[in-house]
């Protein structure tokens, strides 16, 4: 135990002595949490709308003013010529064209009114699709309002929409838990692996290997500092999420820490296995990077797993981050409990066991 304390002390001393690591440990989570949520947004804003107004009625001008009031839409052009609007769309100045036909207002109450036609630039599919939806919603809203005014009885809307758990569909609330995972992978995955391979590169592992300390002691001493740093980093990230974005977990913080603990064990076991097979830091970096790409793109971090092809969905079952992302999001947004998420915890526990066993088996104190 005394020996282990000395090993730990030496690791912390080395981390502190490092000219770069302590700064990284503080700056990296802050940067990821402060900058990334602003950049990584799928909310579509500033959809430029051109209105081809053939009707020139109070209804049409009301629709246009509603576009102006929307926080997502910007009416940039009002014209009576479709060609002009189309030219603007081709130039890229306009994303959606709304064409209000002749006599739209007059025929509104008839059984077969003329229809409003929409055209969108779908080069950026997300912007085109979502922009179109916003336009349709705004028009529908205006028309219901008009109908409500003309009829004495207030009619209820036919469809009501409610986004449970994330009422404003705030993309940031969806992304922030995912960003925490990136922090984990880097702090608890990359750093200990590099630290071990660094000892191989500098030859110090030779000197350690001839001492009576066991490989378990040595490896644990490498991991424990990064476990502690990892938990510190995630706490820091949670504080930033609370203070800057007002995002606090609906569920219990304890559930998050339990998930974090299991995930840390998994990812450090994984990185140890890679370190065991690498001779140089370069090798470790590249192999880790390869897996991190897969983790980032396929674990539902950025894109929902449900919209992947079926084979890819099956593949995600063997990616540990997938389970932790689900835990984080469910606890943060839905307030899920350990009981609700038992299968995720079981999977993470399983992975932790598998990877650490693998790491223990592939570690050679002798060559």
């Amino acid at each position: 135990m005394r020996t282990f304390r000395f090993l730990l002390q030496k690791e912390f001393l080395q981390i502190r002595r490092n000219s770069f690591l302590p700064k990284l440990i503080i700056a990296f989570p802050l940067m990821v949490m402060l900058l990334m949520p602003l950049i990584m947004t799928m909310d579509v804003r500033n959809v430029n709308v051109a209105v081809v107004d053939r009707d020139r009625s109070t209804t049409s001008s009301r629709i246009i003013s509603h576009f102006g009031a929307s926080e997502y839409l910007t009416p940039v052009l009002t014209t009576s010529l479709y060609e002009e609007a189309l030219a603007a769309l081709e130039r890229g100045d306009v994303d959606v064209i709304v064409q209000i036909p002749d006599n739209f207002e007059r025929e509104l109450s008839s059984t077969t009114p003329e229809r409003i036609s929409l055209a969108a630039n779908a080069v950026n599919a997300t912007k085109g699709g979502l922009g179109m939806q916003y336009v349709v919603q705004t028009i529908a809203h205006t028309l219901t309002e008009l109908r409500g005014e003309s009829l004495p009885v207030v009619r209820s809307e036919l469809v009501t929409v409610e986004n449970r758990y994330n009422p404003t569909l705030n993309y940031r609330h969806y992304m922030i838990p995912a960003l925490m995972i990136i922090l984990f992978i880097l702090v608890c995955g990359f750093l200990p692996a590099l630290s071990i391979v660094g000892e191989k590169e500098s030859g110090t592992i030779e000197q350690i290997n001839v001492t009576p300390i066991s490989r378990l002691q040595f490896t644990l001493a490498k991991l424990v500092p990064y476990w502690i740093i990892g938990l510190f980093v995630v706490s820091l990230a949670m504080v930033v999420a609370r203070l800057v974005y007002g995002l606090a977990p609906v569920g219990s913080v304890g559930t998050i820490y339990l998930g974090a603990l299991l995930f840390i064990l998994t990812i450090s076991g994984f990185s140890l296995t890679i370190a065991n097979f690498s001779e140089t830091m370069q090798q470790t970096m590249f192999v880790m990077f390869f897996f991190i790409m897969i983790f980032m793109l396929m674990s539902g971090l950025l894109t929902p797993i449900d919209s992947m092809p079926v084979w890819a969905q099956r593949f995600t079952l063997i990616l540990p981050p997938r389970y932790f992302i689900e835990v984080l999001r469910s606890v943060y947004l839905k307030g899920a409990t350990i009981v609700d998420l038992w299968s995720n915890f079981a999977a993470l526990g399983g992975f932790a066991m598998v990877f650490n066993t693998l790491a223990a088996l592939t570690y050679k104190k002798q060559a």
Partner: protein
């Protein structure tokens, strides 16, 4: 009981035979030198004895313990100093020493009497990072760390490589001192001139032992008359000398060529045959360990 007994040890890396059935013994309290060029298999042998590698065949005992079966026991009995400086560059002199003491579960004070002659020389720099020490000081620190748990056998893999001549000589004096305290030392070096400072030496090349004896015994084994020759055109002289009568071998050796001869050789006749060479100078020499090494290597 011998301190080290090596019995028919072999190790290959793929097709390359690093050690080819090596056997020898090191007596207790002996300063034993392993002399050979780079690639002779010296480091492989050290790594095997330090239990960092497993042999393909054969076995070895240190203090009577098998290097494979009792590797744990061996690790607390040996002090190993690898060829490359492998202490922590980012820790200070003092921190390195304390750290290795802790790993062996000892206190620095307990072994201070043993390391004092060495450590006291670097103690003024104890707050300095190990990476910032000079080559000679690094060696002293590494030796101090290897001695911290009072090992009975020291394994030093090329400790003097890359160290200046004065520090090298000092280092050998230190080894002498350690030997006097009863520590068995196995040390390797590519420098033939250091061989004479050992009790016994083994000449090795390409994974084989060419000969084992005291340095004097090795030199005595060189029974042929040896001459040193010199002239203005050294390279032409080498070629001409090789074909002269009574010459067994001729090879460049510093500013001379060494001439190994048989008993039919006569100095006058040789000088006559080489009369075309300006400034020819010939003299009888005492053989060195290197001459013996070259002789053994060519056989």
């Amino acid at each position: 009981m011998n301190a080290i007994t090596i019995d028919n040890l072999s190790k290959s890396y793929g097709k390359v035979k690093a050690l080819d059935g090596i056997s020898f013994e090191v007596h207790r309290g002996e300063l034993f030198g392993l002399i050979g060029p780079d690639g002779a298999g010296k480091s492989t042998l050290f790594r095997l004895l330090a239990t960092l590698l497993n042999a393909d065949s054969g076995n070895a005992l240190i203090d009577g313990y098998d290097i494979v079966k009792h590797y744990r026991e061996i690790r607390s009995r040996i002090g190993y100093m690898p060829g490359r400086f492998s202490l922590y560059h980012d820790l200070s002199v003092e921190e390195n020493l304390n750290f290795f003491a802790a790993l062996f579960g000892v206190k620095v004070e307990e072994s201070y009497d043993l390391i004092a002659p060495i450590y006291s020389q670097i103690e003024p720099f104890r707050k300095r990072r190990a990476g910032k020490l000079s080559g000679g000081m690094k060696q002293k620190l590494a030796l101090s760390c290897a001695l911290i748990h009072r090992p009975s056998v020291l394994l030093l893999d090329e400790p003097t490589t890359g160290v200046d001549a004065v520090s090298r000589s000092e280092f050998w004096d230190m080894l002498r001192g350690l030997k006097e305290r009863g520590i068995t030392i196995l040390v390797s070096t590519p420098y033939m001139d250091e061989a004479s400072r050992c009790d016994r030496i083994a000449l090795c090349n390409e994974g084989r032992i060419l000969g084992i004896d005291t340095p004097e015994g090795i030199v005595r084994g060189f029974d042929a008359p040896l001459y040193g020759i010199r002239a203005k055109r050294m390279f032409k002289l080498l070629e001409a000398a090789r074909s002269a009568e009574g010459v067994v071998d001729c090879y460049p050796f510093g500013e001379y060529h060494h001439l190994v001869t048989d008993n039919s050789f006569s100095e006058e006749r040789f000088a006559e045959q080489m009369h075309t060479f300006e400034g020819l100078c010939i003299e009888r020499l005492e053989p060195t360990i290197e001459d013996m090494f070259i002789k053994l290597m060519k056989r």
